[in-house]
Assembly symmetry: C2
Homo-oligomer: 608 residues x 2
Amino acid sequence: MDKNGPFQTYDDRSDAAQCEPRLTALRAELAKRGLDGFVVPHSDEYQSEYLPESGERLAWLTAFTGSAGAAVVFKDKAAVFVDGRYTLQIKQQTDTKLFEPRDLVAEGAAGWIETAAPKGARIGYDPWVHTAAGVEGLRLAAERAGATLVAVDGNPIDAVWHDRPAPPTAKAIPHPMNLAGESAESKRTRIAEDVKKAGGDAAVITLSDSIAWLLNMRGGDTPHTPFVLSYAIQNADGSTDLFVDERKTSPELLKHFGNAVHVRKPEDFVPALDALKGKTVLIDPNTAPAAISDRLTKAGAKLKRAADPVQLPKACKNPVEIEGSRKAHVRDGAALTKFLCWAAREAPKGHLTEIEAAKTLEGYRKATGALTDLSFDSISGAGSNGAVVHYRVTNSTNRTIHKDEMFLIDSGGQYPDGTTDVTRTMIAGTPTAEMKDRFTRVLKGHIALATVKFPEGTTGAALDAFARRPLWDAGLDYDHGTGHGVGSYLSVHEGPQNISKRPVLQPLKPGMICSNEPGYYKTGEYGIRIENLIVVTEGKDVIGGERKMMEFETITLAPIDLNLVEVKLLSDEERVWLNQYHARVRETLSPLVDDETRDWLETATRNV
Amino acid sequence: MDKNGPFQTYDDRSDAAQCEPRLTALRAELAKRGLDGFVVPHSDEYQSEYLPESGERLAWLTAFTGSAGAAVVFKDKAAVFVDGRYTLQIKQQTDTKLFEPRDLVAEGAAGWIETAAPKGARIGYDPWVHTAAGVEGLRLAAERAGATLVAVDGNPIDAVWHDRPAPPTAKAIPHPMNLAGESAESKRTRIAEDVKKAGGDAAVITLSDSIAWLLNMRGGDTPHTPFVLSYAIQNADGSTDLFVDERKTSPELLKHFGNAVHVRKPEDFVPALDALKGKTVLIDPNTAPAAISDRLTKAGAKLKRAADPVQLPKACKNPVEIEGSRKAHVRDGAALTKFLCWAAREAPKGHLTEIEAAKTLEGYRKATGALTDLSFDSISGAGSNGAVVHYRVTNSTNRTIHKDEMFLIDSGGQYPDGTTDVTRTMIAGTPTAEMKDRFTRVLKGHIALATVKFPEGTTGAALDAFARRPLWDAGLDYDHGTGHGVGSYLSVHEGPQNISKRPVLQPLKPGMICSNEPGYYKTGEYGIRIENLIVVTEGKDVIGGERKMMEFETITLAPIDLNLVEVKLLSDEERVWLNQYHARVRETLSPLVDDETRDWLETATRNV
């Protein structure tokens, strides 16, 4: 990836005409291997959200470019599975005569295999791109259909994808102590302790953000995430084996690692698994490739299925990481505020387009001099496009923001000191009473979550409804979670915490960064989302209080469009929160912006 | 049980001196059978909450009379497991030199077996009093300890409990259509449809409330719950086999059942399981005795593990049941209000005792002429006893309500048209500012839950925090759920719904009855709880709303002590709710009470 960007492109990456020759080639390859079917997940060998070009097998085959999905190919039929976000997009992208679009959530690949697989069929899967838990579901489904699930040796798509790009080999660099806040040695030592406590001799770590955090290393193998694609074995003695293409390393990196990190070739990984014979090995069935647990079992290792031991420690940021994130948010907030001032001036003229807006915002972020990537493709949605929750603007969907329309922009930057993710919704002119009512309800929900105090042990699932209640009062809701975890110069989406209707069991812990992003979407008309990042902090002691409480610190700084706020719908406490937040935004950002933006900010953050 | 009561006794049922001879006898019996250990759960063959005397094996052995727990006996050590509610009580009840009190939740019988079982030990369990899921946990624990779990034939406690009472044989009676609202035939037909849809030929139903609902039958085998202890097989053709002691039946009952219900002897049950050879049988691993699934497997039936198919339909009350419950609540509310008037007059004198209060309330309920039992032993707690969440007053704990102390009474009645459960907290004189602050926060939480609108698919877990937030704001909380399901003239505690921090996946559905009972407990000083029952209803359409919303109808009617309300802590909306609720209480109950109560009620429900 070009380090200077542009980090977002607007081309229509998808060509349905390619589906036929590619599907034909795949079927021929399957026939050659004696297979009657094949499962193609969205994921690659590292189960990351953002894939390198070489891992885009699902997009290559089906022309579907969404961030989640799967396909199943049989001899005479094939289906592509997408969730509710992509039901429109799939029809535009794939050749629906070849791939029948089906529901990823209600049915999924396993559900369809159960009903559609021919009896006796041999259905192939590449065990390196499915998790063990995922394979279990597929195997059960195949058995119920009287079919057999067969692990393939070498992905058949790679065999017929003749111009498949080589896997990435971006340079990995150390993530320095002044940003990481804890040495890799200290991290390796405490994870090793946890591995020991769990009765393990070693843990296989496969998630790229876990490895990056564990070794204080960042890279550039994947879009929007500073990952170094690799595998690691964390030994209970504190040493780590890292299996990584040597082109990604450097003398500086090796020095940073020290002696206890053994850098080894990717082809040494499987032999290293074999060498764990007789050992107790921790492996995460929900994130590690099935091929790894299969190999360990075959080698005679004792498997202990447990969550990746790095996930929780990584999610609980230390004070240096939190301070870095605060700084990144000040920088990012100033860039966003310049953009919002510019958009407030330009949009009401009625000729600003979604792409121009996204490019301009990227420019302001780049001008900070600290941006290494966007943390995801900006969602830049005017009018009805704002109602498409995971909208990606392309040259063919690009829409002008008309006067008196709403405009939603959800965006973020990757900075070495922190990852940002922020959504603002503005009105290009004058809003309707309904728009103000809806926006104010979303704001009330946002404030309800931002201000909650909660006892230790509380999960995000327990708090989610606070953000929804003002909408529920009006018979409204939104069909996405209220908050996801955010990494520290890592992925903008990370676990194990979550603030949503899903019953995720992980309690919120001090140092976790989450988004707070309630919304409202009126299909065909407009979308609203107000998103700040929040950090879980130990609450200040309440006088007379008895429990250890926690609360959220809001770290995103940018004005919320007051033209859309119906002040009389706010309670006194909500009004105070809004005014105090805006005062903080004004005081923090004013010194960092140009005169025009400063003047605009003064009005944009006025007391209400 | 005497149909005229008294339904609550106040004797100290427990005698620690019996522990030694009984434990010695049990160990001798185990030795005779070649066992090194034995697991004694609280539950009996029907997994009910309230046990008949003959099922009180844990209490017989350990002298512990709580409503949940377990014991594990080895040759040279034994432990009794209780949860946080009973950590004080267990030390008073059992002989701690013989039974070490341990944590039921953090460790439990399985956890202790894993660490404490001698290698090679043969640990017995009675498969009729453990569920299949429970046995699975015990078996894994035993294996980890290098021990073996062994199913016994005949409970060894029964062999040494020489004066064990005979199992109950109370008469079962039809639950008439004007109360049930749906014929048993209709219920059996739709459950049979569900069994068929799930691919089953039959379902084994073991929970007494499921069987009572399915066959429109009530009885008197267990305290506080009109159950008929029995087992049933619901066949996919709509017919039902009921295995029940013939002394419980009557010509009237048989006529009510009709031809499609085959009443069979209890000793025919196991042969009937054997006869399911080759069939697909639905069985709930979390509620059915392990012995049943073991036997079915041995007989060659195909087991399909699924939730008891009656649970959800039973929980969603029909309009006749809801109307019955409303009527029961009016009747019960009038009785409770008479009591509250009496207590408001007597308690400030400083000589009223907890037992006198509970007896007086039982008297008012009995005077309605419709009471068949209390729905549980009234929790009557003065001052510090109010802080013991599941307090049971006995002659030795009985405490006087002193002037200016709080008094908490949690009680309910079983009426043929409905089951009630209500808690009121009053002040016998003048409250402190802290008491008023805490009471008002509990009330605010109660109102927040009572008034919430929520979309279809919402679980109780998502709503629980609304009831806690006013306490969280002050650094406070309570350590119990906010609401449990309530049966329709069945158990006062029923699933599958729940309003608590526990991530129960069952969405709330129209017709479900739940409790709404936030509280606050200051150990050693006082306890507060405000509990009403609420029914899930389809919400009225909101103008401009887009989603199908649901809401709660509060059906409990009794004044909430205004002497404890700090009005300035209430929002306008909360004040309106309180005044409207009190107006409804006053208007509904005034015609049903005596002059003195009516006068008192006028003041007790005044506008604030």
